[in-house]
Amino acid sequence: MKAKICQRLGFGAARIAILISLSIMGYLLFYIISNGAGIISWDFLTKPPTSGMTAGGIFPAIIGTLLLVTLAIAISLPLGLVSAIYLVEYSSKESRFMRLVNSAIYNLNGVPSIVFGLFGLAFFVKFLGFGTSLLSASLTLSLMILPTVIVTSVEALKSVPEYFREASLALGATKGQTILKIVLPAAFPGIITGAILGVGRAAGETAPILFTGAVFYMKGLPISLLDPVMALPYHLFVLATEHPNISKVRPIQYGTALVLLILVLLISLTAAVIRYWYRSRRRW
C-alpha cells in the first residue's frame, strides 16, 4: 500500500516536472510571439533602421545574418563532408589518427562560444589581418559548426548499407567511384540535414561574432568580405542592453527577437521535415 502511494507521488512529481519544463519553454515562445507579432510588418523586414535605431526596420541585420550563415556553411560543409568521408570510408578503424580526429571533434564541440570569439579575434582579425569583417566572423562561425556537420555526415554515410558498396565494387568500380556515385547520393538527405542544423546554430550565435565582425550600425549593406556586418542576434543584444533609450526601442527588441526565433525555428523544422521524409521514403 505504501508502495502504491510512493508510486502516485513519484509519478506525480515526474508529471509536474515535465509540465513545468514545457510550460516555461512554452511561455517563452508565447511571450516573444505575442509581444513581437505586432511589430512585424513588411516594412520592418525590408527597411533599414532609422532615427538612431528607434524606428525603421531590421533589414540589414537579416541580410547580415543570412550572409554570415551562408558563408559559414559554404566553408564548413565541404571541409566537414570530406573529413566524414575520410573517417567512414578510408580510415583504418583503430588507427591512432582516427581516434585523435574523433577526440578533436568532440572537444571542438565543447569549446565555449566566447572562446571561439577570442580565437577569431586573435587569429582571423589580427593575425591574418582580415579585420572586423564578414570574413572573420564567418570563418569563426564555420569552425564552431564544423563538429555538427562532421558528426551528422558521418552518421549519414554510416547509414548507407555495406551491401551497396559491395555490389558496386563487384562490378569493377573503384572506391572513389563507389563513394561518388552510390554512397554520397544515398547519404545526401542526412548530410543536408546536418548542414541545416549547422546553419541554425550559426544563425543564433552572438559571442563568436562579437569581436570578429558584428556592428550595431552601418550604412548600407556589406559589399565586400572585409566589410563589417549587422546581424540579428547582435542587434537584439545591443538593443536590449546598450542602447541609450532602451525602453523606447523595446518594440524593436521584441520584433528582432521574434524574427530571430522564427528564423531558427524554421530552420529546425526544415531539418526535421527532411529527416522524417527521408526516413519514410527510404527503401532499405
Binding site: 548499407p161 551491401y163 555490389a167 563487384a170 562490378l171 569493377g172 573503384t174 556515385k181 527503401r283 532499405w284
Partner: protein, 251 residues
C-alpha cells in the same frame, strides 16, 4: 575441356584465422561448377578470393594463386577493379542500388566509360533480356528497383553483372533468399547463361547443385575434399566424407 579459371594452393585468413586451406581446383569454361559443403566451411570466402573481393575485408590475407586465362589475378601489375568486372559476382541477398531499374543496369557500363545514350539503352535491354527480365520490366524501366519482387531483384542483379560483359560469373547462394518459384526461374536462367559464361555457384542446397551443375566440388572446413562431374559426386563419391554429406548425414 578448356580451363577458364583455376586456383593453386589458395589459402585465405581472416585476422589470422585460416578459412580456406590449400585449395587447388580447375574450373572449366562455359560450364556450371557448384561448390557445396556445410555452412561455415569457407565457401563464400573462397568465392570472394576468386575476384579479389576478399581484399576488401579488413584483416584478410591471401596466399597462393588464382589464375584466369593463364594469368595470376593477384599479381602486382594486375588491376583489381579490372578483375572484378571480368569475374562478376551475384550475392546471396539481392542488393540493387537505390536507383531505377535502368540506372541499376547502366551503372556498370557507365563507370567503365560508356556514355552514349543509344549504346547504353541497347546494353541495358540486352542485359535484361539475357537475365530473362526484359519482358517483365520493359514498360517500367524507370521505376525504383525496390518495387520489384525478390526474385526479380535478383535477376536484376544478374542483369547488372551481365552488363559489364564478364567472362566468369560467381554466385553466392543466389536463391537462398528467394521462394521456390523464383528459384526455378533463376535455375532455368543458369542453363541459358552457361552457353556464354563460366559459372561458379556456391550453394547449400544439394538438390539445386545436382539439378543445375556440370561439375561439383565438396568443401569441408576450408579444404577441397572431392571434385568431379556432378553425377559422379552424387552417385559414386570416392570419399567417405563426401558420401556422408550428399547422403544428408551431416551439414
Amino acid at each position: 575441356m578448356k580451363i577458364k579459371l583455376q586456383t593453386k594452393n589458395l589459402n585465405v585468413w581472416y585476422s589470422n584465422v585460416q578459412i580456406v586451406r590449400d585449395f587447388t581446383i580447375k574450373i572449366p569454361e562455359k560450364r556450371i561448377t557448384a561448390i557445396i559443403g556445410p555452412s561455415g566451411c569457407g565457401k563464400s570466402t573462397f568465392l570472394k578470393a576468386l575476384n579479389r573481393m576478399v581484399e576488401l575485408v579488413p584483416g584478410a590475407k591471401v596466399s597462393g594463386e588464382v589464375i584466369l586465362d593463364g594469368k595470376n589475378v593477384y599479381d602486382q601489375d594486375v588491376d583489381d577493379t579490372e578483375i572484378r568486372w571480368k569475374i562478376g559476382m551475384v550475392f546471396q541477398k539481392p542488393n540493387p542500388f537505390p536507383k531505377s531499374i535502368y540506372e541499376n543496369v547502366a551503372y556498370g557500363p557507365r563507370i567503365h566509360g560508356i556514355a552514349e545514350k543509344e549504346r547504353l539503352k541497347h546494353l541495358v535491354e540486352e542485359s535484361l533480356r539475357k537475365a530473362a527480365l526484359w519482358e517483365e520490366v520493359k514498360d517500367r524501366l524507370y521505376i525504383s528497383a525496390f518495387e520489384l519482387s525478390g526474385g526479380q531483384q535478383q535477376r536484376l542483379c544478374i542483369a547488372r553483372t551481365l552488363a559489364v560483359n564478364p567472362e566468369v560469373i560467381l554466385m553466392d547462394e543466389p536463391c537462398s533468399a528467394l521462394d521456390p518459384i523464383a528459384t526455378t526461374k533463376i535455375e532455368d536462367l543458369l542453363f541459358d547463361l552457361k552457353n556464354n559464361y563460366t559459372i561458379v555457384i556456391v550453394t547449400h542446397n544439394l538438390q539445386q547443385a545436382a539439378r543445375v551443375s556440370d561439375y561439383t566440388s565438396f568443401m569441408y572446413l576450408g579444404k577441397l575434399i572431392e571434385y568431379g562431374r556432378t553425377e559422379e559426386i552424387f552417385e559414386r563419391p570416392k570419399n567417405k566424407q563426401t558420401q556422408d554429406y550428399v547422403m544428408g548425414r551431416f551439414g
